[in-house]
């Protein structure tokens, strides 16, 4: 086996702005999205940086084996190859959206996913116990919910999301997905099962563009306490409760003198549930999230 792989769930506990980076003078701050499908994602590189800080308690040699050595000098001057440089054993893949919380007329909000999002997640999760089968594409505009959904009126069988009015049918696979995802919760979680809904990919792609949080923000001049002229931008975030799925992968430690197998690397990276702070917006209460792996043994290598 070349590298071992372990999927994780990233659960936003507060609005999450995983941006394409605040570039010089770029006015608006959209979240990172895949270009062709508009699926929001959190770049693995951002997560890796956060994880690196969160695992400072590891013995320094192991820490370096996992994440690779730090540069001694920052900036272009430090960007030189050095003796003893080695790649970190841990590779962090992007976390892709699997379910987006959308305001619902009933049950306050629904966790909305689509066959495409679930199919992409299935790949990352392959080999895990209890992984539901493929979710068939919905033939037309509409929704599928679990048996006990609180987001659908029992009589009319309709899911009312923001201003979308969707015909909803009960489908056992939706329940199966909710149960499967909720296994990463620290405790038994009913909320996900009650609110999980799958809509057709077209409707999802509409929600991907319209159901994120967009706020207009201003920059305050520290000297004058007034709004800096022209420093006015729109910032987009994934709302709290957004769920994303990603993978961690690892090979053997490449650090001389630090013998760690791939499994050991992954165990150190994923010690239980971790609360992480993504992005530098801690002061405004943004970017808090939970990163968790599925409990149970590490899975077999895939064919």
């Amino acid at each position: 086996m070349s590298m071992e792989i372990r999927p994780y769930l990233l659960h936003a506990l507060s609005p999450l702005h995983a941006g394409t980076g605040q570039s010089v003078g770029i006015i608006d701050l959209p979240i990172a999205r895949l270009r062709a499908t508009n699926i929001p994602f959190v770049p693995g590189s951002s997560l890796k940086g956060v994880l690196r800080e969160a695992r400072r308690s590891l013995p320094p040699a192991e820490w370096e084996a996992l994440f690779g050595p730090l540069r001694e000098v920052s900036g272009a001057a430090g960007d030189e190859a050095r003796e003893g440089d080695h790649a970190g054993a841990l590779v962090v893949g992007d976390a892709r959206l699997v379910a987006l919380p959308v305001r619902s007329f009933l049950g306050t909000f629904a966790w909305v996913s689509s066959p495409l999002l679930l199919e992409l997640a299935r790949r990352d999760l392959a080999g895990l116990d209890g992984l539901p089968g493929r979710m068939k594409r919905l033939p037309a505009t509409g929704a599928r919910v679990g048996a006990g959904s609180i987001t659908v009126s029992p009589k009319q069988r309709r899911l009312l999301l923001e201003d979308l009015d969707l015909d909803a049918q009960v489908e056992p696979a939706v329940d199966a997905w909710a149960r499967f995802l909720s296994r990463t919760w620290p405790e038994e979680e009913e909320g996900l099962r009650e609110r999980f809904a799958v809509v057709d990919d077209e409707t999802m792609s509409f929600l991907l563009e319209t159901a994120t949080q967009v706020e207009t923000r201003v920059r305050i001049d520290p000297d004058t306490g007034t709004v800096v002229q022209g420093a006015l931008w729109q910032e987009e975030s994934l709302p709290a409760e957004t769920l994303l799925v990603g993978v961690l992968a690892a090979g053997r430690s490449l650090r001389r003198g630090t013998e760690l197998s791939a499994t050991e690397v992954l165990e150190r990276a994923l010690k239980g549930t971790a609360l992480l702070q993504l992005g530098g917006k801690a002061t405004v209460g943004r970017g808090r999230c939970r990163l968790a792996a599925w409990p149970g043994v590490s899975r077999e290598a895939r064919p």
Partner: protein, 589 residues
């Protein structure tokens, strides 16, 4: 009737070569090198008694700023092969000598062991193709021209190349082209030519890159940020003269000013204006080997006060690209009048090229990169860009009218594209935006104007209208609408969102009948609503600058509303580029 030979020559590479630029001077000097090589080839042909048809070489003040890379000459006596060969060798020798001249002039920069590599790089850059045939002027001119043009195009389908023989291996590649080995010396890079030519710590240059970077004099080239921020610095000079003067004096202490030449507007701030961008002055000054603390203090003491009273500049610039429409057809039709008709048009085109330089650099705040005939490339500051584009189009039409009078040929028009990007974007990418804008401007029916902007890392906005439909007025009206504050951006975004929910193509007539009124209704509803904090009542589509064609098909309506939304986004960008007084936050919503 005597026979002669018609000889067509082309020199390259052009587009890739020019786009391979990191600093402004790489771009300008690269373009200048190409023009000089063409000039060398043209002069050599003239010396061998060949007669130039394209381009016309006019001497003195009226000379076109650039010599195009395609030369059409008439060889009345002698062997056309010898003319072509001599032209080729003259261009090649000129490049080689030039490259070696800067090599020996900057021993601090170059690795003496890389001489062979450098010579090979200089010797293999030039691409040359020529085709010729004999004909009897003037009657057979038209046919001869189409023969040599076809032969040259066919010949270019094979671009032979050989592997490099003089690589040393283990060297970084040029930061400009990514393929040729760096010829810079390894080790510490401090002071002298390193900072004079702004060669960064991790930057690498091959022999061609070295020529582009060091061939001109520092200060000879106007940095792109200085163009992009020209309206800002002009306003600063006008309204905050003492602060600007202090900044200017401070800059003169450690920076070489750029030379304005005939570009009066450069005098407002003859330095790289990225110094005015927060987050950039320290990087820039550290490159000039100032201590970080000194750089920070410079910002705090000299730039911050200016930004605090004037606001931050809008750091975008327009790359202007223009190209004559259907020039091929015009030339073909004109060819039946013989070579003299072409020679006369050729002089008209050279005249237009010099006029283009004046329009861009003297009448507007811009800098010309290239103008050889109907092909114009330059950079213009955003508030001047629309006017500059329109003026070029007018000047071209007028020139063509004069030049083609009495020939019975339909006068060609000029399509102009403006590609807008961040002033610190790589020059290759800015040129690419300009090129795409030009293609959009041309469209299927030519005579167009297009504006294409990349404001964030991913989102682009684009809009096109033919010159005959008044694009400048349409945009300016929209800017006025935005500045009056009656059309909030929220509405535009809402219309945009509504569009996303309505299919563009109907699957059946019933479907069409169902969706058309929905689209019309949504647009009208959103615009008519009265917003809190917005002056006046709601708007009709017409008042919002959207002349809805209510009898259009669903697809036409879709396209129309989309184009309107793009126009408003772009107008919003232009109004942000136009300076407002401090504290005014219109356009926030």
């Amino acid at each position: 009737m005597s026979t002669a030979h018609l000889l067509l020559m082309s020199l390259g590479p052009v587009q890739d070569f020019i786009a391979q630029a990191r600093r402004t001077r790489d771009l300008w000097f690269g373009s200048h090198v190409l023009s000089e090589l063409s000039l060398e080839a043209a002069r050599t042909a003239q010396k061998l008694q060949a007669e130039l048809i394209f381009p016309a070489l006019v001497e003195g003040e009226e000379a076109a700023p650039s010599v195009p890379n395609k030369l059409l000459v008439l060889v009345r006596q002698g062997d056309p092969r010898e003319v072509a060969r001599a032209a080729r060798e003259a261009a090649r020798t000129r490049l080689r000598d030039w490259g070696m001249e800067v090599w020996y002039k900057h021993p601090q920069l170059v690795d003496a062991g890389a001489l062979g590599t450098a010579q090979e790089q200089l010797g293999t850059l030039l691409e040359f193709h020529a085709a010729w045939c004999s004909f009897s002027p003037p009657d057979e001119y038209r046919n001869a021209l189409s023969f040599v043009e076809a032969a040259l195009a066919e010949r270019k389908r094979l671009r032979p190349f050989a592997p490099w023989k003089h690589q040393r291996g283990g060297r970084h590649k040029s930061s400009l082209d990514g393929a040729r080995e760096s010829v810079l010396v390894e080790g510490r890079r401090e002071g002298g030519d390193w900072s004079r030519f702004r060669i960064g710590r991790r930057e690498e240059l091959d022999a061609i890159g070295l020529l582009k970077r060091t061939g001109g004099k520092p200060g000879q080239f106007i940095p792109v940020p200085t163009i992009g921020l020209a309206a800002y610095t002009a306003l600063a000079k006008e309204t905050k003269a003492p602060a600007m003067e202090r900044l200017r004096r401070e800059c003169s202490r450690f920076l070489t000013p750029v030379q304005p030449g005939k570009r009066e507007w450069v005098r407002d701030f003859p330095f790289d204006a990225q110094l005015l961008l927060p987050g950039r002055w320290s990087t820039y000054l550290e490159e000039q080997e100032l201590e970080r603390e000194v750089a920070e203090r410079f910002g705090q003491d000299f730039v911050r006060p200016l930004l605090a009273t004037l606001g931050e500049p809008f750091p975008y610039v327009a790359c202007l690209m223009a190209d004559g429409d259907k020039m091929g057809e015009t030339l073909q039709t004109l060819a039946s009048h013989g070579p003299t008709a072409h020679q006369s048009l050729s002089r008209t085109l050279s005249g237009f090229a010099s006029e283009a330089r004046r329009i861009i650099e003297e009448q507007h705040r811009g800098v010309l990169v290239y103008a050889g005939g109907d092909d114009v490339v330059g950079f213009v500051c955003l508030p001047d860009a629309l006017g500059c584009a329109a003026e070029l189009s007018r000047a071209f039409s007028a020139a063509m009218k004069r030049g083609l009078e009495g020939r019975g040929v339909k006068e060609p028009t000029l399509s102009v594209g403006l590609g807008v990007g961040h002033v610190l974007e790589s020059l290759g990418d800015l040129l690419d935006l300009g090129r795409r804008a030009e293609q959009l401007a041309k469209g299927e029916d030519r005579n167009g104007f297009a504006l294409l902007a990349r404001l964030r890392s991913s989102r682009e906005h684009a809009w096109r209208l033919r010159w005959s439909d008044g694009p400048v007025k349409a945009i300016e009206d929209t800017v006025t609408l935005r500045e009056k504050g009656t059309l909030p951006m929220t509405k535009v975004r809402e219309v945009y969102t509504a569009l996303r929910r309505i299919p563009r193509h109907a699957v059946s007539p019933q479907d069409e009948a169902r969706w058309r009124p929905v689209l019309l209704g949504e647009v009208q509803r959103v615009l008519a609503r009265v917003e809190a904090g917005t002056p006046g009542a709601g708007l009709t589509p017409q008042q919002a600058g959207l002349d809805l064609k209510e009898d259009g098909t669903l697809e036409e309506l879709h396209t129309q509303v989309e184009a309107w939304a793009e126009r408003v986004f772009l107008a919003e960008m232009l109004s942000r580029a136009t300076l407002r007084s401090r504290g005014d936050t219109r356009g926030a919503a």
